[in-house]
């Protein structure tokens, strides 16, 4: 008796297995197939007080038309949204699906997440279920971590971007989020382009309102491609899709980005690309805060021959400018491109060169506010490399060479890497070589919105010996902070200078060091939101590995502490941070 029962069971189970393996797509054959929408990621975090979006594809798995299907259950804190700017097949409150295999057999389910979601909730009614109109024939989400919605609430106040290497020495773009109290940073997963092979890096990041964007490049095969990601509310990052210039052949790199002010959805990111013969300036623009990008036509200077690139972009509500350099045969000249108000086209703006200009002019940084813009860089007069400064009072339509008084001990190698203004007070920073061949930090200030500049001598750390560089400057009111690095006798140390009088005088500040700091540390970026500041760079640890270095200050930069950061699981070495940004700044 029992043996016969067991035999029958075995047959049943075998028949069931055969039947199930014959169902080609699912482990269980269900009326709907519900999976995360291809090309999107489910959010894993949502910012406290904000929302995140998830997209699923709901597909009809039956061979008949199914009318009036609906979403019966959702996790708490999750609602269905029936409008979307990106997809035109959003599932409605009730929706009809064509039979499997026919166009219209699926729709995109859009969900709005406003709190934590427990992916392991034991109550099935706290999970996504889509049903036939009677509410009895239903499907849940397909199995797999990639389809399971599990969201924790975080509060983040700052992001930092850069790169790192894994154990195959492949460089990956790195994105870190700092929590609200800035006592913890964590690596966030970012979408990887399907053709990524190596050398991925984020060069720049910006937040507009509570949406943040990061751009850079990656290598696919032999070519560098632009890399664009944005965070469309919450902390899920998606790849931006972009058109590229018609003559794009290879090597797209993006160096800088700016958006048209808080809550502006217009952004432009600039760099360069190769058309197979030479490098040309590359500018990609977005009007939907980073979801889709386009390459607007650029009208280059009439004497453009080669090696055009954009190093910095600045935008206001009026328009955007991009600054960099290009070559006219043997002469390297400054490049300024100005966009129209809708950033659908860019034209070159001519500039008058300094009277002692010989060659190698380049603009590295720009800043615009209202109708005022400044652009800074360097040029060579045949003997020395000197700072180059321009200003414009009409949104970049015309530019005037600014007058500048250099430091008394200036000798050569005067560069300007970054600039910012608060009202009419502007600061530009980088480095120069003095008459003892010591490279010192260079700080220049203007009180008339960049028309004239003078150098100030910042008080340096007592152990400063040489190789002082400044990479970024930021101001909040009259409080300014600039960061870089310098050399004492045997170490390269982070340099932090703080001013409370809009840059007239500066004092050095030393941060607390990580316990495994070996002999080198660099700071590349700094940002403040009120009196909360964050700085990012990297240091070499006791294992001789470059580790991303995050510093936090809650007193406008007067004191800094090292903040631990969790890194991606495949981090091995080569950590560096290029840029920081803060949402809702």
């Amino acid at each position: 008796m029992i043996k016969k029962t067991v035999r029958q069971y075995i047959v049943l189970i075998l028949m069931t297995s055969l039947f199930l393996t014959a169902s080609n797509t699912l482990c269980y054959a269900l009326p709907f197939s519900i999976k995360t929408k291809a090309g999107t990621n489910l959010p894993s975090h949502v910012v406290e007080g904000e929302t995140a979006i998830a997209y699923y594809t709901v597909a009809n798995n039956t061979m008949s038309l199914r009318k009036n299907n609906f979403v019966k259950y959702l996790p708490p804190k999750v609602q269905q949204v029936i409008t979307d700017n990106n997809f035109n097949d959003i599932c409605g409150t009730t929706f009809t699906l064509q039979p499997k295999g026919i166009a219209g057999s699926s729709c995109t389910l859009k969900l709005l997440i406003s709190g934590a979601v427990n992916g392991n909730d034991p109550n099935p009614r706290h999970h996504l279920f889509v049903c036939f109109p009677g509410g009895a024939t239903c499907s849940g989400t397909e199995k797999g971590a990639q389809n399971t919605l599990s969201v924790s609430v975080v509060s983040f106040s700052v992001i930092a971007v850069g790169a790192y290497n894994d154990d195959s020495n492949i460089t990956h773009p790195l994105l870190l989020l700092g929590n609200k109290n800035q006592n913890d940073w964590s690596a966030v997963s970012i979408p990887i382009p399907s053709n990524f092979s190596s050398s991925g890096v984020f060069n720049t990041t910006i937040c507009t309102g509570n949406v943040c964007i990061a751009t850079g490049e990656f290598t696919s095969g032999n070519d560098k491609n632009p890399l664009l990601v944005s965070q469309n509310s919450g902390i899920n990052w998606s790849s931006g899709s972009t058109t590229l210039p018609a003559d794009f052949a290879a090597d797209g790199i993006l160096n800088d980005i700016d958006c048209s002010g808080t809550n502006g959805s217009i952004c432009a990111t600039g760099g360069l690309y190769s058309n197979g013969l030479t490098n040309k300036p590359l500018i990609l623009s977005t009007t939907d805060t980073g979801i889709t990008w386009f390459s607007a036509p650029l009208t280059l200077p009439g004497d453009f021959i080669s090696e055009g690139q954009i190093n910095a972009v600045s935008c206001t509500i009026n328009n955007c400018i991009g600054v960099g350099s290009y070559r006219n045969v043997t002469i390297k000249k400054p490049l300024i491109l100005m966009s129209n108000s809708s950033i659908t086209s860019w034209g070159s703006v001519s500039t008058i060169l300094p009277s002692d200009f010989v060659n190698n002019a380049v603009l590295n940084a720009s800043f615009c506010q209202g109708s005022h813009c400044i652009a800074v860089g360097s040029y060579s007069d045949g003997l020395a490399i000197k700072p180059l400064l321009y200003f414009s009072n009409n949104n970049g339509s015309t530019w005037t060479l600014a007058s500048a008084t250099l430091p008394a001990n200036f000798s050569t190698s005067g560069f300007l890497n970054n600039t910012t203004c608060v009202g009419s007070r502007c600061i530009a920073v980088a480095n120069y070589r003095d008459n003892h061949a010591i490279t010192r930090p260079l700080v220049m200030i203007s009180s008339n919105t960049g028309a004239s500049w003078s150098a100030v001598t910042p008080t340096l750390p007592a152990d400063f010996s040489s190789n002082g560089f400044l990479l970024e400057v930021t101001c909040t009111g009259a409080n300014c902070i600039t960061v870089g690095d310098y050399r004492n006798n045997n170490k390269q140390l982070p340099l932090i200078l703080v001013s409370t009088n809009s840059g007239t005088t500066w004092s050095p500040v030393s941060p607390t060091f990580p316990p495994d700091f070996l002999n080198s540390g660099y700071l590349d970026a700094v940002i403040c939101n009120g009196n909360i500041c964050a700085a990012a760079g990297d240091y070499v640890n006791s294992q001789n590995v470059n580790i991303p270095w995050m510093l936090a200050s809650d007193d406008s930069g007067t004191s800094w502490k090292t903040v631990t950061s969790s890194l991606p699981p495949d981090f091995v070495s080569g950590g560096l941070m290029n840029s920081v940004a803060a949402p809702n700044k």
Partner: protein, 265 residues
């Protein structure tokens, strides 16, 4: 029908062997095997009898069913056709009328219960074959009966009494513990609550009783029973109430029993 049947047969065979030798040993003290009856006498006597019964009941539990379409999906419950065997026990109290030299009539009331049967099957549910799935299900059934129980024994002046039996009464059936192996985060499947059913039941059987020690008989028998209707309770798919449930119109059992009769003379 396997092991349970075999076990029953073995037990009963030993009992038969025991019955044969016990009376023989007893009989050596007596000239006749007729203990309670004088051959040829016309006396009618009656006395109370109590019978204790133990044995097995074998049944095919559950009935394949196809529900009417619910929310565009079909639900096809295919019951595993195998027989299952459970233990059976019961008691009888009545009177035995020795109304004829050759016949005894026992009439009385009995109570029987079976330990729980398990019904198993495979549910195929889905909107169409493309999207259908199969899940194993099972539920349990137990039954208690109160019967008016009649037995007619033949007395041929030996201590062996072949008999036929007929009983009818009320069965209290309970179907409960419905379980189905479906993935709870992927779909919903009907779930049924427990249910008690009261049904008319009858039983036909035959066997043989053997006189042994004073006032005691041992017997074996075979019976066929209809326990009546068994049905699970109301069904729900998630929160949606459905009109159909799993029902078996007749639960038939075949019983093999061993019985101990005690008479008060």
């Amino acid at each position: 029908m396997g092991t349970h049947w075999r076990k029953s047969v073995v037990i009963i065979t030993w009992l038969i062997i025991l019955f044969y030798f016990l009376p023989l040993s007893y009989a050596s003290h007596s000239h006749s095997f007729c203990h309670y009856k004088m051959c040829g006498d016309e006396l009618i006597s009656y006395h109370p009898v109590f019978i204790l019964t133990g044995g097995t009941a074998t049944a095919r539990v559950g009935q394949s069913q196809v529900f009417p379409i619910i929310d565009s999906s079909s639900y096809n419950f295919a019951i595993n056709k195998a027989f299952t065997t459970e233990l059976l026990g019961g008691g009888y109290a009545g009177m035995e009328f020795d109304f004829h030299p050759d016949w005894y009539l026992q009439t009385g009331l009995s109570y029987y219960q079976v330990s729980a049967f398990t019904s198993r099957g495979l549910l195929t549910q889905g909107a169409d074959p493309q999207s259908s799935d199969q899940y194993l299900f099972r539920y349990r059934v137990n039954s208690r009966r109160v019967l008016i129980d009649e037995r007619l024994l033949y007395n041929n002046c030996h201590q062996y009494h072949p008999y036929i039996a007929f009983a009818f009464g009320v069965a209290f059936n309970k179907a409960y513990g419905y379980q189905v192996d479906y993935p709870p985060f992927l779909t919903f499947s009907p779930l049924f609550s427990s249910n008690r059913t009261t049904a008319f039941t009858y039983r036909l059987g035959f066997g043989i009783d053997v006189d042994t020690l004073a006032n005691l008989r041992l017997g074996i028998g075979y019976r066929f029973s209809d326990l009546g209707k068994v049905s699970l309770g109301s069904g729900h798919i998630d929160t949606v109430k459905i009109g159909s449930t799993l029902t078996q119109s007749h639960l038939y059992t075949q019983e093999l029993v061993a019985q101990l009769t005690y008479m008060i003379t």
